[in-house]
Amino acid sequence: MMLENTDTIKNPGTNADVLPMSLSSMAMLVELRISTWTARKRDNETTMEINTSKEADQDSGSVYKYLMAGSDHLKKIEKYSAKCRAWNGTQTLPWMKGIGLLPMENFFKYREQLATMEANFFALVDDFITEYPRLKNDQAFKLGKWYKADEFPDIETLPRRFKFEYNFLPVPESGDFRINCEARIKADLQEQYEKMFGDKLAEAMRDPWDRLHKVLTHMTDKLTDNEDGDRKIFRDSIIDNAVELCDLLTRLNVVKDPELEKARRMLEQAVTSTDIKDLRALSSARLELKTDVQSILNKFQW
């Protein structure tokens, strides 16, 4: 959508106006779809037995069996898929269900990493498919009476159940309603789209502030000593997550919000020279960092 120079959105942190200029030139939409074979099958016979034995309706409960019991090949793929989806969520801003807003600044790094993840995903799938005949035979012992050979997919069709697909789409412009209808209806649709667009963009820009707020409040909580003077237990990730977020926010600030950049730089300054060992050993170090973090929380509206 080509926003006019007078069109603005509100900065969620300070409620100030931010000029987004042309979003379609600064970001794109990305849709990532990963699907795997779950190997979960409803066992109708056992379901009926259990429901009958419990004197319940036949639709009151279901029994599912896992066709790859005792094997971690498929679990590795599922775990990796979940990791890829989570990573995608951190690298993009929320737009619509299944679709994220990817700032152009983050595009090349995102694309490179996504290609590596895709290749590794299919390497895991190939490894699973190579082992599949042996794993399938093993299930005859592991599933016991639940085993039914015809419930397992053929090795020829099995690869089709694993997908790693992504599409890059432009952020659509509001005037692009190519439908034949009355001018009044078209105007209504455009107005509706512009409102939706504005809401989506404000929501997308809310996300980096939320992430920053979450990290800051977590740090403040963990850096506050207990009443007896002992420190709370915290991991190295208290600093690592902050450093990672500071790096990510340089690429997620799609509208170049100066307040977000200011908050990011304040956090970066506070954590880059911090040693986690000092934080654990010295209450003065914890207090100093907590003061810095609290000052960021106090400075902006969240």
Binding site: K83, E112, T116, A123
Partner: protein, 293 residues
């Protein structure tokens, strides 16, 4: 076992199975890291390879492919460290095969300062996660500053040397005679005159003197060090609170004067000093004259 795209080995090597367990976990966890033999020459690879795997009992290979026991870890062009299989001897457990993780971030008080060893896979994964961290901008700038100031100092010394060490003057005695006779107003002996004047009027001496003056001029000027990282320019700047911090700018975001200096230096050779512009250490490290505020 799966072959991941960020594990890159020459065709004649495969990873030792015990090492592959660790490398596969790390490769999945860090898709931006590459695991391979980059930076390892063929001799090193041969020394760290064998037909029989160290960790597990398996028959030796006879297909010309060897098991590699050491691998280097990179993030882009940055070398993060290496992982290898080593043998550790102890009185209680005799000898055991251990994971050996080397990185500049590992600091040991005893033994090999930059290497840590463990027999446990999960400990090795955790250690790798803690030490294989790309340098942040402060670390990059600190390293770049050290490289640039060392190279700049060396270049300035090289430029000064012919004059400061009088390397172009064949005989100090002749020079003294020349000056003595000249200051006394007497006729300078022909051989002395010819020898001294030919040295001081030669093109070589003129060039050396120009370079010396260049070094003297530029050596006294305050310089700002700039490091290029992933296409961005890193430099130290004072923030609003007058504290020094590392900032990252694109070429277009640099102050105009610095932008023009950098553009000139990009055209120069490595280790070249340019009058009133700055110094090019290499394609990623520069020192530009400070622009007055």
């Amino acid at each position: 076992m799966a072959d991941f795209v960020n594990v890159r080995l020459p065709a004649e090597y495969v990873l030792d199975p015990m090492l592959k367990e660790l490398v596969d976990k790390l490769a999945l966890r860090h898709p931006t890291f590459t695991f391979g033999t980059k930076g390892m020459n063929s001799e090193t690879c041969k020394n760290w390879a064998s037909t029989v795997p160290k960790g597990k009992r398996m028959p030796p290979r006879d297909d010309g492919v060897n098991y590699l026991r050491k691998i280097s870890v990179h993030c882009g062009s940055e070398f993060l460290g290496s992982i290898s299989l080593d043998i550790r001897y102890s009185r209680s457990s005799g000898s055991e095969i251990v994971y050996s993780i080397a990185s500049w971030r590992v600091r040991n008080d005893r033994g090999n300062q930059n290497v840590t060893r463990t027999a446990k896979l999960d400990v090795a994964v955790r250690t790798a996660k803690n030490v294989f961290i790309p340098q942040n901008t402060k670390e990059l700038m600190a390293k770049a500053e050290s490289v640039i100031s060392s190279a700049l100092g060396q270049s300035l010394a090289d430029l000064r040397r012919p004059i400061s060490h009088s390397t172009l003057i064949r005989s100090q005695l002749e020079l003294q005679k020349y000056l003595f006779y000249h200051l006394k107003g007497e006729e300078i002996p022909a051989s002395v005159k010819q020898s001294v004047e030919s040295a001081f009027t030669s093109v070589k001496y003129s060039t050396a003197m120009s370079e010396y003056e260049l070094a003297e001029y530029m050596g006294n000027k305050p310089m700002r060090f700039i490091h290029v990282h992933n296409g961005d320019y890193l430099m130290w700047e004072d923030n609003e609170c007058q504290e020094r911090e590392v900032v990252s700018r694109t070429l277009e975001e640099l102050p105009e004067q610095i932008q023009s200096h950098i553009s000139v230096l990009h055209l120069m050779q490595d280790n070249e000093l340019v009058y009133d512009v700055g110094y090019r250490c290499d394609s990623e490290n520069f020192a530009v004259l400070e622009v007055p505020a």
